[in-house]
């Protein structure tokens, strides 16, 4: 009899939906049906059934082809390569659990690496603005239960977070928002008329790249001063009307995304957005939230901030203390200046999602990919180590976009012999300690994490 597993977390976008139902085969090896998820989540779960999923590490041969090798050999190669490098770069972690992120920190510290995550090409500028200006945020539950004005600025949840609007921001009926969508006024600020903009009551189609001016104009109007007739392509009257709507809200929620962080201004756009939220709080209640891209991309920010004091771009190569300076210690900049001599790509695809020049620079040195599937990074790697898929055949803690931790479960049994990220990194750490003739230090929050019970790696 197939089993229906309820309350499953979806390991795709930052909404981290935890109401998915998955029908699995009798022997818990196949996913048969996925209920409640969006198309992306459904495809993700079904992709785990792919019979061609790699089961053994693959090492590139001198003729350019890939050859399967045992896990022990791959672990040995990874440990030796990282130790031999003067400054390895460990990047990724968009799609893995917090246990894996914690374990990788040990090998990063041991090898004097730079530890970076996908935020570096995503919400990194938001972090910079948050350091400078604070983060007057809330949880998605508060947005659902209280927000009667919702602003989507430079984000398109209908495409990037498909269930965000139905679970948290536009449609759901909450404690103080019992009429759901009828009670909410939705503003969208975007240079295109996106599918989110079509849902909105008011769409401000600004000139692309002029977010800072528009945020500033909003603040100026809010503080009672005059603005020019047109700012960033938006007429004065529209800006004034929008500010009135936000000011008269019971609870105004601002969501912002890549439209602000990927374009000119970067962190300064977010800086202005946070200041606008603060200004709004002199009139009503207002809150702001970054639309984080992946289901656990808030995780490395949390885990590494406990471990090293910084969320991303962490340079551990000094050996005495962690140092963070985006622009200097960020993946793309390090690659462009040829400052790293080994690249480890974990649970992300730098091959597809970095601009191509940094990929070319990184490929000059040993290139290792740790990922459950074939992707662009794995296909140019010197070594590809497959692992279990967090949230599908490996459980773990993930942090949703509002920094709420959720325990995700495994719905099927992992492929025999394939380790989790955590198990793999622990083995690499042990090998590094053997090679350097040092004692491993297993400081872990949970005692049972010391030696994972699973015997997947033999």
């Amino acid at each position: 009899m197939p089993k229906l597993i309820k309350g499953v977390g979806c390991p795709y976008c930052g909404s981290s939906c935890d109401d998915i139902e998955v029908l699995v085969s009798d022997d818990e090896t196949k996913i048969l049906e996925v209920h409640n998820a969006c198309i992306i989540g459904t495809n993700l779960f079904h992709h785990a059934n792919d019979p061609t999923r790699p089961r053994l590490p693959r090492r590139r041969q001198p003729d350019g082809s890939m050859k399967e090798i045992p896990y022990d050999e791959a672990i040995d190669y990874m440990a030796k390569t990282m130790l031999a490098a003067k400054k390895p770069l460990v990047y990724g972690f968009g799609s893995t659990n917090c246990e894996g992120m914690s374990a990788v920190a040990r090998i990063a510290e041991k090898s004097g690496a730079v530890l970076d995550n996908c935020a570096t090409i995503c919400h990194g500028p938001s972090f910079l603005a948050i350091f400078d200006n604070g983060y007057p945020s809330c949880t998605l539950g508060e947005a659902k239960n209280r927000a009667d004005v919702v602003v989507f600025w430079g984000c398109n949840p209908m495409h990037a977070h498909p269930r965000h609007t139905s679970r948290y921001s536009i449609f759901p009926r909450g404690y103080f928002t019992q009429k759901g969508q009828m009670q909410r006024t939705v503003l969208c600020v975007d240079p295109r008329e996106t599918d989110t903009a079509k849902l909105a009551d008011h769409h401000l189609m600004l000139d692309q790249g002029h977010d800072y001016e528009l945020f500033d104009a909003f603040r100026t109007v809010l503080r009672g001063f005059e603005i020019p007739d047109v700012v960033a392509g938006i007429p004065k009257e529209t800006i004034k009307k929008s500010v009135e709507i936000m000011k008269n809200a019971k609870f105004c929620m601002i969501f912002f995304g890549m439209g602000c962080t990927h374009t000119d201004g970067r962190n300064h756009n977010i800086d202005a957005a946070i200041s606008l939220t603060r200004d709004l709080n002199t009139h009503t209640k207002a809150s702001i939230m970054a639309m984080r891209g992946h289901y656990n991309i808030a995780g490395p920010g949390q885990v590494w901030a406990w471990q090293f004091g910084f969320p991303y771009c962490i340079d551990l190569s000094k050996g005495t203390h962690a140092h963070m300076n985006p622009g200097e210690t960020s993946s793309v900049d390090l690659a462009m200046r040829d400052e790293v001599d080994c690249f480890v790509n974990v649970g992300a695809d730098a091959g597809a999602h970095f601009p191509i020049q940094p990929v070319q620079h990184l490929k000059k040195h040993p290139f290792i990919t740790v990922d459950p599937n074939f992707n662009m990074a794995s296909e140019i790697s010197d070594l590809h180590i497959p692992v279990r898929i967090a949230g599908v055949d490996e459980p773990g803690v993930v942090y949703r976009m509002d920094n709420v931790p959720i325990q995700f479960r495994a719905v099927i049994k992992g492929l025999p012999g394939v380790p989790s990220d955590e198990e793999l990194f622990n083995k690499v750490y042990e090998r590094m300690c053997e090679l350097t003739k040092t004692e491993p230090i297993w400081l872990a929050a949970k005692e049972d994490r010391r030696y994972p019970e699973s015997e997947a790696v033999i």
């Binding site: 495809n43 992709h47 910079l128 295109r192 601009p355 191509i356 940094p358």
Partner: protein, 139 residues
Amino acid sequence: MNMAKIHLNMITQRSIEEGAAMEQGKTNPNYFIACTVCEMNPEDMKKAGIWKNTNVKVTSECGTVIVKAIEPTQYCPPGLAHIRQGVWANQVVPPRTQSTGTPQYSGFPVTIESAPSERIKTALELVQGAVGLWQGGKI
């Protein structure tokens, strides 16, 4: 044939077609279909002599890529073009970061010209080709 070029402001962002196809695998044909399109306003197509659903060459300060010009699935005003995030978009995304670590994924100048006889390369061909590993084969 009109060989006019047009200068546009390029943005590369997510789309659900790209996300759904990516989760089927980046070598899946659906990923190719989803990501090899450049959305641009019909007015701009007209100015550059580009027929909709034909291939175009997109050139930025740091590279070129062949993709298919289509009418926007989500309205793009004249002057703005959109290639969905992914392998093809990243052939032209400038790696400059304004000292924040984040490349210029949105808001960079490009030149777009008609290239109906050019072939769109596969993801593997582009990425492996860029690092000298492409050996032909799977097209």
